[in-house]
């Protein structure tokens, strides 16, 4: 189980994350929702170890991550929000690079990389550098890179952006099977529909704090408020009509 205990991150005077507590059980896909600037990306960066918390800690299977951060990082796979890749490399070269940085042997990589590229429908373009790839193709390369070392925990930051319908469906099924295999998925997104289809639990973040958390199953009960209602209430963004009107007014300025 992954646990965040009082996770806090401060950038100078700005408090990006304020004493956030959550846990992610094995077999679970945890949705992490929040408006822009709520601290989602900060949480993701803390969880994958790209930044250090100002206060608080992360625990994995009852041990603080700070005891052995390298061992922890070996157990996570990460798909960032923006497809930042070395696009002058081919997909094969990039996956070989990631695999070697993760310490995988050559023979393993020679078997795994082409197999993953074929399954993720990238094989036809495997000889081309990724400069020619669409955003969806780059997302698939990133997913392959995240899965290459057989991680325990997948941290996904908007992984569905740019994906076509087929790849989206494949991703969804893949994540469900991955989690069902006693592993964990932290899923940061803006999309309610995907959270409802995929996640078992959802955390809603607002202004750097956990504003609400719910079992996703509860939203299937027609008598209960929808995820969207809960989100709007939790984040304090209850009426967008005035803003929408203002946008239309500005649009019509000559």
């Amino acid at each position: 189980m992954l646990e965040a205990r009082g996770l806090t991150k401060r950038y100078g005077p700005f408090l990006a994350l304020d004493r956030v507590d959550f846990h992610l059980r094995r077999g679970e896909i945890l949705g992490y929702l929040g408006p822009n600037g709520s601290g989602k990306s900060t949480t993701v960066n803390l969880v994958v170890g790209l930044i250090e918390p100002t206060a608080g800690s992360l625990w994995l299977d009852g041990r603080p991550v700070s005891d052995d951060p390298i061992a922890y990082r070996r157990r996570i796979g990460y798909v960032p929000e923006e497809p930042h890749l070395y696009t002058h490399l081919t997909a094969t070269e990039y996956l070989m690079l990631v695999g070697r940085l993760r310490g995988l042997g050559e023979q393993t990589l020679i078997e795994k990389v082409p197999a993953l590229l074929r399954l993720l429908l990238l094989w036809d373009s495997h000889y081309a550098t990724m400069t020619a790839y669409s955003k969806g193709m780059r997302q698939r390369v990133l997913l392959a890179a995240a899965l290459l070392h057989n991680p325990d925990l997948l941290v996904l930051d908007e992984p569905f952006s740019g994906l076509d319908v087929t790849a989206g469906l494949l991703f969804r099924t893949l994540l469900q099977l991955f989690a069902a295999n006693d592993r964990m998925v932290l899923f940061s997104t803006h999309r309610f529909d995907i959270v409802q289809q995929l996640c078992s639990r959802v955390l809603i973040l607002a202004r750097g704090r956990i504003a609400a958390q719910h079992e996703v199953a509860s939203f299937r009960d027609a008598a209960m408020p929808s995820l969207e209602d809960v989100f709007v209430r939790a984040t304090g963004q209850d009426d967008f009509t005035p803003v929408a009107r203002q946008i239309l007014d500005v649009m019509q300025l000559v």
């Binding site: 790209l50 930042h84 550098t129």
Partner: protein
């Protein structure tokens, strides 16, 4: 140049796009906002450097022309002017060619322009016209600046009682011929790039353009010493040496002389060549633009083909090396192979070393083979000096190329996988590459000459050179804590003059001491053993120390300013 707006197109579109393309000429995609500002400052200071160089050359030539003015006959003046006029045409040509090569990625509208501007209500004519206008503005400004910097020297060469032409007329004809020569340099490179864009498939375009650019860059750098030798060609020009018809600046000198009123048929023939090659270059660029304009979608969006003989990297990966070592080594090699910018920096600076070597070798009389004596001593000196000059140039070039970032934000994968246990292997990948390029390449290039000049003594000289190279690797990797291309970059961190002075002192000391060591080793077998043993120990100790530091020091992903002497501990 203006483009008429189509109905529905913003009349300011042309101006806006021209301004955008002008700014984009310097968008290398590697600089952060702070670094871009720093780069702009560097550009402005380089204009100052041109002006200063022009004034410096004038100062250098002042004494010479004073003497020529007082001479008894006009012939020495005539020959000196021919040579110096050649320099005044060749130098701007070279500088303009350098800058055009630097921006050669932006010479034609590309896929990015197509994708971004395609959905906007802007005609293709406007896009092409704006691109061309931006190029014209930039190249014309640069040509003007370079020529302005050389005006004092031109005036100096023109004020003489032996000059048969008026100063103003000489100045005007020089501006016409020099401008034409520099424009030809721009067009020649544009024609080359245009041809590649039209002919190559997308998959090959990137790599072949990178190779073409690096090769052209190397040729330009190697030609620097030749350009500075142009003033010595006055007599050859006056005599109409046939081989000069293969030297581009000479064509435009012919044009200048013809315009100024020189009736010599040799100059008329050169002028004809100048006009013909300029027409061919203009025609080629016009055709490239026209074809690209008519078939833009087809040419830019053509399918990517599998390169012939393509193999996945995995198929080649058989060597037993630690995976992190292989990761960094392959990543670095692939980036240097494909990135035009990094390859350009590497080849360009390395070619400076090659230029210095060629310049020195050109001064050695090859008659030593028959005569022996002094010429042989000169060749021995050049042969001993050569590997160390190449080491210096290759070292600076490789370090500069590795320090420039590539897709900076993609470095998260290196940050995420950094560990004390694997860092050493990763940095050893860099060390291996540095050793190959900074020691292996110079030694391989220099060895034949060393054997030719030193005979059996080369058996002692080569190991000493190799060991000195391994010690020098430590200088190249001093304070190095980066995975290549993953750290941000701040250009112009130190005062340029300060860096140049330090580099010159370091270079002089290194080459003098290194050559002295080789000479001493060759003088006596016992000394050779002591020197080889001492160098081997020093190289091993430095290597061990470097590796120990790498094991405990974290990698660097953010470039830092050198030091902050103004920080006060209050």
């Amino acid at each position: 140049m203006t483009a008429r707006a189509e109905p529905g197109e913003d009349p300011r579109a042309f101006r806006t796009l021209t301004s955008h393309f002008l700014h984009a000429l310097f968008d290398f995609g590697i600089l952060s906002e702070a670094a871009a500002d720093s780069f702009k400052r560097l550009l402005v200071s380089s204009i100052g450097a041109f002006v200063a160089t022009g004034l410096f050359l004038t100062r250098v030539y002042a004494g010479r022309y004073e003497a020529l003015r007082g001479g008894a006959s006009p012939e020495p003046y005539r020959r000196a002017v021919l040579g110096d006029d050649l320099l005044l045409i060749g130098l701007p040509m070279l500088l303009v060619a350098f800058v055009t090569l630097l921006i050669s990625d932006s010479l034609f509208p590309d896929e990015r322009d197509f994708r971004i501007l395609g959905p906007l209500p802007v005609r293709r004519t406007t896009v092409f016209a704006a691109k061309l206008a931006a190029l014209l503005i930039f190249t014309a400004s640069f040509i003007v600046i370079v020529h302005l910097a050389l005006v004092p020297l031109k005036l100096l060469t023109s004020f003489s009682r032996w000059s048969p032409h008026s100063v103003v007329w000489r100045l005007i004809t020089w501006i016409i011929a020099g401008g034409a020569a520099s424009t030809f340099a721009v067009l020649a490179i544009a024609a080359l790039v245009g041809t590649l864009v039209l002919v190559l498939s997308r998959s090959r375009l990137q790599s072949l353009t990178a190779i073409m650019r690096s090769a052209a860059f190397a040729v330009l750098v190697v030609s620097v010493p030749f350009v500075f030798r142009l003033p010595t060609l006055g007599a050859a020009v006056a005599n109409g040496s046939t081989w000069l018809t293969f030297v581009p600046p000479v064509w435009f000198l012919g044009l200048e002389r013809t315009l100024v009123g020189d009736a010599n048929p040799w100059f008329a023939r050169l002028a004809t060549i100048a006009v013909a090659v300029a027409a061919v270059a203009v025609g080629s660029v016009a055709i490239a633009y026209a074809v690209l304009f008519r078939h833009f979608e087809r040419l830019i969006l053509r399918a990517t083909k599998a390169p012939r003989g393509f193999r996945t990297e995995g198929a080649r990966a058989r060597v037993r090396l630690p995976p992190p070592f292989r990761a960094v080594y392959q990543f670095t090699a692939a980036t240097l192979r494909r990135s035009q910018l990094h390859q350009g920096v590497l080849v360009g600076i390395s070619a400076c070393g090659a230029g210095l070597v060629i310049n020195r070798l050109a001064g050695v009389n090859a008659g030593w083979l028959l005569a022996g004596g002094a010429a042989h001593a000169a060749l021995t000196g050049a042969a001993l000096w050569m590997p160390f000059v190449l080491m210096c140039a290759c070292g600076v070039a490789l370090r500069a190329a590795l320090a420039l970032p590539m897709e900076y934000r993609a470095n998260w994968i290196f940050r995420l996988t950094e560990a004390d246990a694997t860092r050493l292997d990763q940095l050893c990948g860099v060390e291996r590459l540095v050793a190959i390029y900074v020691v292996g390449v110079p030694v391989a290039i220099s060895s034949p000459l060393l054997w030719l000049a030193l005979g059996s003594n080369a058996a002692i000289a080569v190991p000493v050179v190799v060991l000195i190279g391994f010690v020098f690797v430590h200088a190249v990797l001093l304070h190095w804590r980066r995975i290549p291309f993953t750290c941000s970059y701040l250009p112009g961190k130190r005062f340029l003059a300060h860096t140049l002075v330090l580099a010159t002192i370091a270079y002089s000391l290194f080459t003098i001491i290194a050559v002295a060591l080789v000479r001493t080793a060759m003088s006596d077998a016992r000394r050779a053993v002591i020197i080889i043993a001492a160098l081997a120990i020093v190289a091993a100790v430095l290597r061990r120390r470097r590796r120990a530091v790498w094991t405990v020091t974290p990698l660097m992903f953010e470039d830092e300013l050198p030091e902050y002497p103004l920080q006060l501990q209050l």
